[in-house]
Structures are given as C-alpha cells and as structure tokens.
C-alpha cells in the first residue's frame, strides 16, 4: 500500500469529514464541536507537515481518481501547491480558535462551523489541484461553501451582499468553465504542467488561445477582485470578522490569485503567454488595480471597508509579480501570496476585536484605542507596517523582489506603481496608527464589553498576536530554509523557470 498516493486526499478529507459531522451536531454540543474542529485542523497540519518534508526530499504525493472519460480528479502536492496549502492550514487553525471565541453565544454555530470547514476543504482542494478540472470543481465548491458564511448574520444587508457575491462569482465561474472546456477541446488534456502544456499548439489557434486566456483570467479575476470585477468584495465585509479574515487572507480572494498563477505558469507557460502578448495587458491591469484599490481605501471611514479596498490593492501584487514575467518578480508575487495572507488576517482579526470589545467600526472612532487595547493595536501596527512595505515586516520582502524583478525585466514603470502604492498605503494606515496611539481616548467607547483585567478574550487576542508574529518572522528570518521566501525561490526554480 502506497501511502503517498492517499495523503493529498486525506488532507482534503481532514476538514471535510469533521465539517459534515459538525452539521449534524446540536447547537449546545460546544465541546464536541470545538474538539472536532481542532482535531481536523491539527490533523491537517500534521499531514501537511509530513508532505512538506517529503516534497523537500523529492517525494511525490499524488492522488488520482477517475472522474470523467479521459479526465481524472488529481490532487498533487507540488511546491507551489504546498505553499498555499500550508498557508491555508496554519491560518485555518488560527482562525478556528478566533471564530470559537468570536461567535461564543451567538446562534447557528453548528451551521457556521460546518460551512467553515467546507470552505477550508475547498481552499485546500484548490491548492492541491493537479489539473484544471479539479481546480474548477473546488473553485466552484468554494463559491458555494462561502455563500452561507457571508450571509450568516441574516440581515437584509447580508442577503444583498450575498446576492451580489453570487452574481459575480457565478458569472465568473461560467467564464472559467467555458475557457477550460474550450481549452480541453483544443488540447485534450488539462494537466498542470511546469512551463505549460500549450506549446505544441500551432499558430492557427493563436486567437482562440488569447480569448481563452481572457476568459480564464476574467473568471479568476472575479475572486481575485481585479478591477473592474471587484464590486462584490467591499460589500462582503458584512460577514462576521473570522469570515472576512479567512475570505481576504486565504480562501476566496487568494483562490483567485492562486488560480491566475496556475493558469499563467502551469497551463499557458510564461514564455508562451508572453508570446501571445497577453502578459503586458495583465500587468497593466494589475498595476491599475493596485493604485485604484489604494485610492479608494483612502476615503473609507468604515475600518473593514478600508481593509477590503486595501485587499483589492494588495492581492494584485501577486498578479503583478506573475505578469511581469521574470523569475525574480515571480518570487515576489508568489511569496506575497503568503505574506499578504499573514498581514491581512492580522488586520481583520484586530478589526474584529475592536468591534467585539469596544463596538468600534469606524476609523474615526479609533482615537486613543491603543492605550485601551495595546496588544491588539500592536498586532495591528505590525500588519499595517507590513502593508506599507516597511522593513523588517514581510511586506517589504515582497515589494523588494517585485521591484528588483521589474528592473530585471526592464519594466521600470512598475517601480512607480510600487512607490505610489506604498505612499498611498502609508496615507491610509498611518493616520489610523497615529489616532490609535497618540490621540486622546474618548469618554466612553461605542459599545464596550467587560473582559475583566484582560483587554479582550484570550481566543480573540492570541490569533492576531500569532499571525503578527508570523508576519514579522517571515520578514526577519526570510533567508532561513523553509521560510516563505526560500520556498518561493525553490518554486521558481523547480516549476517555472529552467535553471
């Protein structure tokens, strides 16, 4: 019995099965539910760790199941897949702890945690997909699993946000399906291959391939919130904080960005795509999205909304790194997949803490909050500095490699985008930090909960501290083996570019 062939499937099942059991639990079975959640998360973590070690040593983890005539369900743990899987697994564990604390005493928790587990299952499936059809299946599954989380509050506002989300993602999914099926009718295979599988196609398919590329990027761009397909994301912040955190850092938005990486490198191949002339428009689009998102963020008073526009901007760094089409920029883009996740989840956790503990939802209410909740705001500060790109937080590494990569590829306009975006990031984060640390706090907070001597509940405070520490570590220890940066270099060498 070859266990290596089953581990990717087990990784997916380790959140799917607990999720399905959780659906059947009564509302008051808190301990069992928590136990199942943590058991799933820890099992997944152990399995991913095992795969990590194996892949580093050249093992091959691959599950293949027949799905359709000539098409298989393939789950494969390549280096790129592992990067995303580890991110999701670690952040799932943290977010689960956070969600347990956050939702204490609120209704429909079994439903929430059930869909929460399904959501992670889908994300991990997206990460491990070894061909386009498997990717498509989990990508659509992710849409469906996220919807109930998004509308969890059940308000009219949530229902409308969910509606918008579905309109965007369903149409995006249809475009992606069309592109995938079309591609399949041309090539007869959908297997992700390092450096793409299209190079055998002749010149006569050039126009078709350009349209397919546009279809697929549009389908993925909806989730990655590329302008002008981003309309659903700012509305989606009505979801509970742990959902927003997961949505912005790991699950939906990242699945879109990750899909773009896959399509460019493992379907089209970066050289082939450059030959088609589609990379430059993609880079321009990403650059525009970066600036546009930052500009919009500047004018939001609602904290979560500001963070949402910030996500639109930050996720496009990944796309930009891919679209510059050089090895160094690729490292920057791919590593930002992890870095942005760590930093953004920290910020959303903190925003959730402010809302839960003090009832603060708006930036203008944050005066002096640093003294009331020093730990939370310390984590927030690290996240914000990371977003701005200040060393030594992880964001700096991403921007450095993006900039170097752009120079190497001779696309110096990217530097302007990076500089402009950093300035804008500073412009919308620094006033928050200033207000929180240096302004006088008001007489009373909008809606204060009492947590005794602690600033807030442990389950709410620990997760942002952990993720902030990770973000800091990813920057400080970037040159150690197994850091995200080193792993991204390994990916770039092994999968994308011939050494």
């Amino acid at each position: 019995m070859n266990w290596d062939a089953w581990i990717p499937l087990l990784v997916v099942a380790s959140s799917l099965l607990p999720g399905l059991v959780i659906f059947t639990l009564a509302e008051e079975r808190i301990r069992l539910r928590t136990g199942l959640n943590l058991f799933g998360a820890l099992t997944k973590l152990a399995l991913v760790g095992w795969m990590f070690w194996g892949v580093y040593n050249g093992h091959h983890f691959e599950t293949r199941l027949p799905l359709l005539p000539n098409l298989e369900l393939v789950l494969r743990a390549g280096p790129l897949a592992l990067l995303f899987v580890s991110l999701s697994t670690v952040l799932w564990l943290v977010t689960t702890i956070y969600a347990i604390g956050y939702l204490e005493g609120s209704p429909h928790r079994s439903r929430f945690f059930g869909f929460f587990s399904l959501c992670v299952t889908a994300t991990v499936g997206v990460a491990l997909s070894g061909n386009m059809i498997t990717f498509l299946i989990f990508y659509e599954f992710l849409t469906l699993a996220t919807y109930p989380l998004l509308v969890h509050r059940g308000t009219e506002e949530a229902r409308r946000a969910g509606h918008t989300y579905l309109v965007y993602t369903m149409i995006g999914g249809a475009l992606l399906l069309l592109g995938t099926a079309w591609l399949y009718s041309l090539t007869g295979t959908l297997e992700f291959t390092p450096r793409g599988f299209l190079s055998g196609l002749g010149e006569e398919h050039r126009h078709a391939l350009i349209i397919i590329f546009v279809l697929m990027i549009a389908g993925l761009g909806v989730k990655a919130a590329l302008v002008p397909l981003h309309g659903w994301l700012p509305l989606a912040m009505v979801a509970p904080a742990p959902v927003s955190a997961l949505l912005h850092a790991v699950a939906v938005v990242k699945a879109g960005a990750f899909g773009i990486v896959r399509v460019v490198y493992d379907v089209f191949g970066v050289d082939f795509a450059t030959g088609l002339g589609v990379m430059e428009p993609l880079a321009w689009l990403a650059g525009f999205t970066i600036i546009y998102g930052s500009l919009r963020a500047l004018f939001q008073d609602d904290l979560k909304r500001r963070l949402a526009f910030s996500t639109i901007s930050q996720v496009s760094y990944i796309v930009l790194g891919v679209a510059i089409a050089g090895p160094i920029a690729t490292i920057g883009g791919v590593v930002h997949l992890v870095h942005q996740g760590l930093m953004k989840i920290t910020l959303f956790f903190c925003a959730g803490n402010l809302a839960e503990t003090l009832g603060i939802h708006k930036v203008s209410e944050m005066n002096g909050v640093g003294r009331r909740m020093p730990w939370t705001m310390a984590a927030f500060t690290i996240g914000a500095f990371g977003m701005i790109g200040a060393p030594p937080v992880a964001g700096f590494i991403s921007k450095w490699y993006l900039g170097m990569g752009a120079l190497e590829a001779g696309q110096s306009w990217v530097l302007l985008v990076l500089a402009g975006s950093s300035l804008l990031n500073a412009a919308y984060f620094l006033p928050i930090l200033h207000a929180a640390w240096f302004r006088k706090s008001p007489e009373s907070w909008p809606h204060e909960h009492d947590f005794g001597r602690k600033e807030t509940a442990w389950a709410l405070l620990l997760p942002p501290l952990i993720t902030a520490a990770l973000a800091l570590a990813a920057g400080l220890l970037a040159t150690l083996p197994f850091s995200p940066l080193e792993w991204a270099k390994l990916i770039s060498v092994r999968e994308f570019y011939r050494p």
Partner: protein, 487 residues
C-alpha cells in the same frame, strides 16, 4: 450458484410483473399498502441491479414472450439505455415511495399505491419493449396512470391541471399511434429492429416521424408544447409532482430517442436542427419563466421545462459525435430525475410545514427545516450543473461536444441556461439564511420525508463521482451507435 441464478433469470419479466402484482395486492389490502409498496420498490432496485449484472456479463437481453419471434410475437429487449432508464425509475421511485409512506393519509394512500405501482409497471414495460406498438400501449398506460395520480388530491387546481394533462397526453398518444399505423402500413412491421433495416427515406417515413415526434414532444412538454406542464406538475401532491417530473416525462424521451437512434437518424433530413432549436428555446424560455414565478412549485415545474431542453440540445450534436453526446444526455436525464424529485419533495416539506409555497414568505419556513433546505440546495447544485454533481458531468460532456464541433450558439445556450438556473435556485436559497420572525402555525414534518428528499439530492451529487462506472454500463449493447460517427 447465485451467479447462475442471476444470469439465467428473466429479470426483465420480473420488473414488469412484480409491480403489477403488487398493485393488485395494494388494491386488495389497502392497510398494508405502504409496506407492500416500499418492499416492491426495494425488490425492483435489486432486480434492476441483477439485470444490469446480467447484461454486463452476457450482453444484450432479448426475449420473445411465449417463444413467438418478432413479426408475430411480443419481444422484450434490454440494453444499456434500457438499463439506465430502469435504474432511474427504480432508484428515484424508491426515494419517492419512502417519502409517500409518510406523506399520504390512509385514505389517499389506498388510492396512491395501486396507481403508482401500475405506473411503475407500465414504465418498466415501456423501457423493455422491442416494438413500436407495444411502446404505444405502455405509453398510453403511463399517461393514464399519471393523469389519475395528478388528480389524486382532488382540489380544484389539481383537477383542472389533471384535465389539461389528460388532453395533452391523449393527443400525444394519438399522434404517436397515427405514426405507428403509417410505419406499419409503409414497412409492414412494428418491430424496431426490423423497421431499422427496412426504413427508407420516403415521405411516409417523414410524416410518421413528424407525427410521432410531435406527439412525444407534447408529452415531454417541449417548448412550445409545454402549456400543460407547469399547472399540472405544480398542482399535484408533492410525491406525484416528483413522479411526473422525474420519471413520467423520461418515458416519452426514451421512446423518442430509441426511434431516433434506430429508425430515423439516418433519414433525418434536418429534423435534428429543429429539435435543437426548440430545445434551446426551452432552456432559455423555461429558465426565464422559472425566474419569474412567485410560487415555489411553479418555479420547479418551469425548471423541468428548461432542463428537458438540454436533452434536445443533444440531437444536433449527435450527428457528429453520437455515443458521447447521448451518454451526456442520458447522464443529464439520470441526474435530473434524482435532483428534480428531491426538489419537489423538499417543496412538499416546505408546504407541509408552512402551509404555502410563496417564495417571498418562505424564509420563516426554510430556516426551521435545515435538512429540507439542504436537500433543495444540493438538488439545486446538480440542476445548475455546478461541480461536483451529476448535472455537471452531463453538462460538461455536452459542452465539450459543442465546443469540439464549433457549435457556439449551443455553447452559449448551455452556459446561459446554467446561469439562469443559478439565478432561480438562489432566488429560493437566498431565503434560507435571513432572519424572519418565526411564524406560529406550523405542522411538523416527519423526519422520513426530510431524509427522503435529502438522500435523493445526495444521490444527484454523488453521481458527479460515479461517471466512470455508469457511463460504460450505458454503452452495453451499443445503444447509441446507430447514429454514430458519420463521415
């Protein structure tokens, strides 16, 4: 020993006689009807499995009743396509039957079971018939039993709907019978295999096909002949709606497909283009109508009109890639049967609980029946064609064929139909999470009814993973090869 028994028994005959005998028993012993019914259905599922094993091992099943061969006697015939339809009937039928045991009160149950078992026997006979006259007889029996079932609850709406249905089904059968007469007159036989060899492109063949096609299209409610379906399917009792939408309509499709494959395809003269056009119209029009409805059961009924359109889209595609496209259509029919049955049963639960099916007021109901909401959601996933589900497999195969052949208009229809389906499914599901004040008067829904709907829906999802096992079974005896790849 066991293998020998399975291989040598005449499962096809059992499939017809068993429900017939059970129908009589249910009529005689009305008190035990529920038990007899469910046991019969369980036995049928096993028999179909046995038949499947038999024809997989020994090839196509052919039996001449009483030893009289084709031109004189009655023949039974079972290949992969028959097996598919029998499976749909038995599996979806079992789910609906379990539901029905809790749904009907004693008095209604006494009338429901004999009719349903009679319908079942007729459907099974239809899928096993080898000649077009027997197909007519069984088609007529199916139609009449279905009409009686539709009128079962006896309300004003139900009676009006059943009356419309009666007219439509009689008219359809009549047109079909005229076609049979013409074929018999023209080629001297009603046996499908003989007709297949004798048929020539002469006017009588075209007229016969026109009549039979129109009659069957009327029974399948192909746009623009769908006028009767929404009212009938929406006004019947929930298990009956499920039977009508999931199973009865497939009977007419089976006949059309069989005739097409064996007799008409080589001499079609462009009829497939017309069928494809009407199918596309059905997908778009039916989905748009479904989206406009304010009542849940009407929405589901219009969704049936739309989803059946997909089966007709297979006709124009089949001229280039026969087997693959018909497998897709068969798979769609299979998943639609499970999903649509689950949807109607879920709707029945919601109606039982809240006493109405107004979509705008459903939120109070949906939240308190999580299993039912789950059933509707999973069935919806398959109807939309989202992965992983049977609907996705079918639509993917269809899409693949359309793309390979460069039929862009069909590609657009397939995708657009899915998007519209998503719109009308989520129009209902959007209510599942809103916070509405809980309504006071509510009737409890038995767990069995909730689980029956949920399990059928899970079946539709599970089909998304079973394609590698089911598709080869469908190909036993090459039922799709008649219109195979033509140069």
């Amino acid at each position: 020993m066991l293998q020998a028994v399975i291989a040598d028994s005449h499962w096809a005959i059992i499939l017809i006689l068993l429900p017939l005998a059970a129908a009589v028993l249910c009529f005689l012993y009305a008190r035990a009807a529920n038990i007899i019914g469910v046991m019969t259905l369980s036995a049928l599922v096993l028999s179909v499995a046995a038949l499947g094993w038999q024809i997989r091992e020994t090839g196509v099943y052919h039996h001449a009743i009483g030893g009289w061969e084709a031109p004189l006697g009655i023949g039974l015939y079972a290949d992969g396509l028959s097996l598919l339809m029998l499976t749909i009937t038995a599996v979806a039928g079992l789910g609906i039957s379990i539901y029905a045991t809790s749904y009907f009160k004693q008095q209604d149950a006494a009338r429901f079971w004999p009719l349903w078992l009679l319908l079942l026997a007729s459907l099974n006979a239809l899928y096993l018939s080898a000649d077009i006259f027997n197909l007519y007889i069984t088609l007529e029996l199916v139609g009449l039993a279905a009409v009686a079932l539709a009128a079962l609850t006896g309300g004003r709406d139900a009676l009006a709907g059943a009356m419309r249905y009666l007219l439509a089904t009689l008219l359809g059968s009549l047109a079909y019978l005229l076609g049979v007469a013409l074929l018999y007159h023209g080629f001297g036989s009603v046996d499908i295999a003989i007709l297949a060899t004798q048929a020539e492109p002469v006017p009588v063949l075209w007229v016969a096909f026109g009549l039979m096609g129109a009659g069957l299209a009327l029974k399948m409610a192909l746009v623009p002949l769908h006028f009767w379906l929404p009212a009938t399917h929406a006004s019947a009792a929930a298990p009956v709606s499920a039977l009508l939408s999931a199973l009865v309509i497939k009977g007419a499709f089976y006949i059309l497909l069989r005739l097409w494959l064996e007799i008409f395809a080589p001499h079609s003269g462009g009829a497939e283009t017309l069928l494809g056009l009407l199918g596309s119209a059905a997908v778009i029009w039916g989905s748009l109508q479904a989206l406009r409805q304010t009542r849940l059961k009407l929405l589901i009924a219009y969704s049936t009109v739309a989803q059946l359109g997909y089966l007709f889209i297979a006709f124009p595609l089949s001229t280039m890639a026969g087997a693959a496209v018909w497998s897709a259509a068969g798979y769609l029919a299979l998943s639609h049967a499970l999903a649509k049955a689950a949807m109607f049963l879920a709707a029945g639960n919601l109606m039982r609980f809240g006493g109405h099916d107004r979509i705008a007021d459903l939120d109070r109901v949906v939240q308190r029946l999580p299993l039912t909401a789950g059933a509707f959601a999973l069935a919806g996933v398959s109807i939309i064609g989202l992965p992983p589900s049977g609907g996705f497999v079918g639509k993917w195969l269809l899409l693949e064929a359309a793309l390979t052949q460069g039929r862009w208009e069909l590609v657009v229809v397939i995708i657009l139909g899915s998007l519209l389906a998503a719109a009308y499914v989520f129009k209902v599901l959007g209510r599942a999470f809103t916070q509405a004040p809980v309504c006071q008067k509510a009737r409890a829904v038995p767990a069995r009814m909730e689980w029956a709907a949920l399990l059928l829906a899970c079946g539709a999802i599970l089909l998304g993973f079973l394609a590698p096992f089911i598709l080869p079974l469908m190909d036993i005896g090459d039922p799709f090869s008649a219109s195979g790849v033509q140069p």
